[in-house]
């Protein structure tokens, strides 16, 4: 393994910014996503960036990319085992639905309306709802 030998030795203090700072690995990826009612929806399996194309030169002074959506679903498998799911199979949680980020990512919408919860809905409607007692609180 060739070790990098050009690591900069003197580091400057980063410029101050006008908002909270999030490091993706530390504060977003693999966090639990909870809907507006407090129901767990999924985890943040990946993040989609808007405003930058892979391997295309970035023109000087271009606007910084922004998070367009949190991703979930098959993307977890490819993140673990490699490869990339086709864009059509990505399940998106649009960033404009996110209401807060702390030790969980909270949404401002109900999970019922999200495509991210279709498996849960399918299992619920095809199996769990049909077993007697599934709709009631435990006694």
């Amino acid at each position: 393994m060739n070790r990098p030998r050009n690591t900069p030795t003197s580091l400057k203090s980063p410029p101050s910014v006008g908002g909270p700072v999030l490091d993706a690995q530390l504060h977003l990826l693999d966090r639990q996503v909870i809907d507006v009612d407090g129901l767990p929806v999924t985890t943040v399996d990946d993040i989609e960036l808007e405003g930058v194309e892979a391997d295309l030169p970035i023109s000087l002074g271009a606007r910084a990319p922004v998070i367009s959506a949190l991703l979930t679903g098959p993307v977890l498998g490819t993140r673990i085992f490699g490869g990339r799911p086709p864009s059509s199979r990505l399940i998106r949680l649009p960033w404009h639905d996110v209401s807060a980020v702390d030790v969980t990512v909270r949404l401002g919408v109900r999970s019922e309306s999200l495509s991210a919860s279709w498996v849960e809905r399918w299992v619920r409607d095809k199996i769990i709802r049909r077993i007697p007692g599934g709709k009631h609180d435990p006694d």
């Binding site: 990098p4 490091d23 993040i47 989609e48 960036l49 990339r84």
Partner: protein, 120 residues
């Protein structure tokens, strides 16, 4: 593009020398709000000369416990630095190339991060 494509990419300077690998991406919530929360702008990338995985971020915060795990991981990521978006020329799943004369910044985070433990 997808973020984890970039994580782990090799980071080169303009002459093509290897500087390390992308350990993390830093965002700032300072964009015009969508509906509920400010938009998240990519501020830059954290580059680690020693390993691709950002292992728990001890190099970026002031957490020193549990000893000795915190110290070992901090040492493992010694030499990490932050490069800003303005200094990135190309970003891809294999390599990230920086512009000539890029600036390396301290990767440190102020405080413990965005979220404090919620009081339930």
């Amino acid at each position: 593009m997808i973020l984890t494509d970039v994580l782990g990419s090799r980071v080169l300077n303009s002459e093509g020398d290897l500087l390390g690998r992308v350990a993390d991406a830093r965002f700032v919530l300072d964009q015009p709000p969508g509906q509920l929360l400010a938009g998240a702008r990519l501020q830059g990338l954290i580059v680690s000369p020693h390993s691709a995985g950002s292992f728990m971020g001890y190099e970026r915060n002031d957490v020193t416990r549990p000893w000795p795990i915190a110290q070992i991981l901090k040492w493992w990521h010694r030499g990490s630095f932050l490069v800003l978006w303005e200094d990135i020329e190309i970003m891809g799943p294999e390599t990230v190339r920086l512009r000539e004369g890029f600036t390396a910044y301290h990767p440190g985070l102020q405080g413990a991060g965005p979220g404090q433990a919620p009081q339930r």
